[in-house]
Amino acid sequence: MFNLRDWGAGIWERSGRPVRVLIALGAIALAASLPLLGGTFLKTPIADYESVLVFPVAIFVIMALGLNIVIGKSGLLDLGYVAFFAIGAYTMGILGTKTGLNSWEILPIGIAMAMFAGLILGVPALRLRGDYLAIITLGFGEIVRITALNLNSIGGANGIVGIPTPPTIFGLEYTFDNHRLYFWTFLIIILLTIWMIRRLSVRRAGRAWESIRQDEDAAELMGVPTFRYKIWAFVLGASVGGAAGVLYASKTLFISPDNFTLQVSILILACVVFGGMGNIWGVIAGAVILGYLPDRIRFLSDARLLVFGIVLVLMMNLRPDGLLPRKKREKALPEKGQA
């Protein structure tokens, strides 16, 4: 049976370095040219196509990649991932309106804040497993949102308005409707995230996460400092979520607690599961589809979310492991005798 994952992995494995570089450049060029394809069948009715590409699509991709470190790689069920997104966004909102710092200066601060929050949450929470961890993270996500809702010093229910746009770079001006520039900026963050995950996956950290996901007790007994690596997974996942938050606030220029509901956590989780947990290409595909689809089928008006739900249900029935599942291909063996 034709298998897209194996087909893609096969091409990649058989290729030498120059071909791989070409494939990577081609993929990046294709992604970068997406905003230029607004005139094609990709066009979203009603919503502005280029704006949809920035949010939700690009933001979803970043967040799904971050959540994938936690859920896909390490097997830690985090239902409060939106908290880190909110912390990044509020860091941007507060510092952007109250200090003279610009988006690029706030980005590392927002990432650091989210990482710190990941650490604070992780140290007590990661002593628990499975369902218990899910409930704690769920609670954390709500705590962050409700805190923002009740703290009048940071806008309360009204949120924060008048967040500044990022400063002009290379003569390119970030204006509210310059979606292409935002998209390309976010694409760079996506590429950096992919680089980080791919790098770590083939090293000690990746193996540690993988072993923890598959059998945590065995991992601990084989000398893997499981607690430390679970914290790392949490903190790195949080850093990506925080980055997404800063970027999001720099784009929408207005944030309120309503942007950071449990539904966002669930939707990002759906992206990861839909695309294929643990496989970054699957996760990206899942986030792109789930971010884009609701706007593409907007012509269905009221039936839109019903169709969206049916697609999800069908997909998970037909391909429970997601679009591009994680299972690694074995290298072709000389003799394929017994299976």
Partner: protein, 258 residues
């Protein structure tokens, strides 16, 4: 210092009202193969679990190379030089055989996440060395050809042996084998006995739990027998076989796994 690598001193392990181990003491000498036998439910695997820190002993103490392992984190005990296999195979199925062993070799690596992320020389060097060492261990155990196969797709016998290779990957001084021959045919058992001797000859100390009497008696230098959580014999294999209490414990018939 004595030539004992590991000592159990009056170890008692209680789970609520159940006494799994009752005042058990024995030593393992360096480069020895010590067999640990007993009827089902006697407490053999519990011995492994208290040594590796899965359970904390209720009373008594366990010392490894003179230092107590009590209260130590499990991965630190492994790092200190005790590695084990599992009675019910617990490999990481979605990783290849080689990756399983490399993960174990990570135990002693100095480079962590940050140096790996930025590809620092120390990380590159250690990655290379770990991979070479893992392949070496697979070859040593005789399953080198399966390196790139996913662990879950390996034949049962290879999985059992991969468990041993993975434990060796942590560079232990003491290797604990929990029923490594379970489900093996006679030819495989002979092969396993040779492997265990080979492991000892390479400088490791082995503590072996096994139900197959011919294997245990053939390969062990000394045998400890426990029954209902109590040690009832600790002697040379030939003497243990004729020990009255041991024969009683086994209802007079040496248990035959096959």
């Amino acid at each position: 210092m004595s030539d004992n690598i590991l000592s159990l001193k009056n170890v008692t392990m209680k789970f609520g009202g159940v006494v799994a181990l009752n005042d058990v003491s024995f030593d393992i000498k360096k480069q020895e193969i010590l067999g640990l036998i007993g009827p089902n439910g006697a407490g053999k695997t519990t011995v492994f679990n208290v040594i590796t820190g899965v359970y904390q002993v209720t009373e008594g103490d366990i010392t490894f190379e003179g230092a107590s392992v009590k209260g130590k984190k499990r991965y630190k005990i492994t790092r200190g030089g005790i590695a084990r296999t599992f009675q019910n195979i617990r490999l990481w199925g979605d990783m290849t055989a080689l990756e399983n062993v490399i993960t174990a070799t990570d135990t002693h690596k100095k480079s962590g996440l940050v140096s790996g992320l930025f590809g620092l020389p120390v990380s590159r060097r250690e990655e290379k060395r770990g991979k070479a060492r893992a392949q070496e261990l697979l070859d040593f155990i005789g399953i080198g050809e399966y390196a790139d196969r996913l662990a879950k797709n390996l034949p049962y016998g290879v999985q059992r042996r991969l468990e041993i290779a993975r434990a060796l990957g942590t560079e232990p001084k003491l290797l604990l084998l929990d029923e490594p021959a379970a489900g093996f045919n006679p030819a495989e058992k002979v092969e396993l006995a040779n492997t265990i001797r080979k492991i000892r000859d390479a400088g490791y100390t082995v503590l072996l739990i096994e139900h197959d009497m011919s294997l245990v008696m053939g390969v062990s230098d000394r045998v400890v027998v426990i029954d209902f959580g109590q040690k009832i014999a600790d002697d040379l294999p030939a003497k243990v076989q004729n020990d009255k209490r041991v024969i009683e414990a086994y209802l007079g018939v040496p248990e035959d796994a096959s």
